[in-house]
């Protein structure tokens, strides 16, 4: 599986390739070509955003699956275990909403929770082909995703 670092490097390589050509077209006054490369860069932003978010999504699913299983196995008191058992059934049926999984790891009022909520919303817009997608500052997003990927755990 490609690591976040590798994905980030690939993104930058393509971004700079297109950006160079956009710049060259601008210096020559080739407006249409400039616009064309600008659009390619936007599409590349969206593609890599989606690509990287799915990696993060996988990580969050893995961690929360493990958390739920551990809680079910290690909690002997039924009153404390019952909600985990309900979640475990949902886990087996793969019906836990992504942001509910995030809630198992981060408090809802935490900035990281809000950040993940905004990424998730954007992921859905791109994946389902909305008319507009907001510009993504990938250099910032990649740094945040790397941090999230490293720091998320169930302790």
């Amino acid at each position: 599986m490609l690591t976040f670092n590798k994905l980030g490097d690939l993104y930058v390589e393509i971004e700079n390739y297109y950006a160079k050509r956009e710049f060259q077209a601008r210096t020559k006054g080739y407006n249409r070509i400039e616009l064309d490369y600008n659009l390619k860069r936007k599409n590349n932003d969206q593609a890599y955003f989606l690509f990287m978010f799915t990696r993060l999504e996988d990580r969050i699913i893995q961690i929360t699956d493990q958390l739920i299983k551990n809680k079910c196995e290690s909690t002997s008191n039924w009153k404390k275990r019952r909600s985990w058992e309900v979640l475990n059934i949902q886990r087996e049926k793969k019906t836990i909403h992504f942001m509910n999984r995030v809630s198992l790891l981060i408090e809802n009022n935490n900035n990281l929770y809000q950040l993940l909520a905004s990424y998730h919303k954007q992921r859905n817009i791109i994946a389902h082909g909305g008319n507009f997608t907001i510009p993504i500052n990938m250099v910032h997003v990649i740094a945040n995703m790397k941090t999230l990927h490293k720091s998320l755990n169930y302790n």
Binding site: V12, N16, Y17, K20, F23, T133, I134, P135, N137, V139
Partner: protein, 139 residues
């Protein structure tokens, strides 16, 4: 509902005006930073701004200024606004150059004093965008 929509439209219009002023001020700063040097600035072709909030609130397309930095008739850098309502930040501007792109992101809260950071590389912390960091880009 109609009133709520018009309140939102007024807010969005205000955000657009604020965005244009922040861009203008940034360009003025840059023009000042390079005055007296071999570098010259030139207004580039205007850029169309039409983002989701404008579409949803039935606001018309508008135009944003771009700026080119030139030295001895050679283009060194082009500043092109990327978007106001961006994922991460309160507006972003592309800084295109012969080897690729740097990104300027205003990390301030909406309607606050701009706080521009320059992102040159994904492995580097962003730097404050100052005369010094700007001139370094040109050399």
């Amino acid at each position: 509902m109609k009133n709520l929509n018009s309140i939102e439209s007024v807010k969005i219009e205000g955000d657009i005006i604020d965005w244009k002023l922040r861009i203008q001020q940034l360009y003025k700063d840059i023009e000042k930073w390079i005055s007296g040097s071999n570098f010259k600035y030139k207004k580039g072709p205007v850029q169309i701004m039409y983002e989701e909030q404008m579409y949803q609130n039935k606001l018309p397309i508008t135009e944003l200024d771009t700026l080119d930095i030139i030295c001895d008739n050679i283009y060194i850098l082009s500043l092109k606004p990327k978007g106001l309502w961006t994922l991460e930040g309160n507006g972003a501007i592309d800084l295109l150059h012969k080897n690729g792109n740097y990104t300027l992101i205003d990390i301030s809260k909406p309607r606050h004093k701009p706080n521009w950071k320059i992102y040159k590389n994904i492995d580097e912390e962003p730097a404050n965008f100052t005369k010094r960091t700007f001139l370094e880009l040109l050399h």
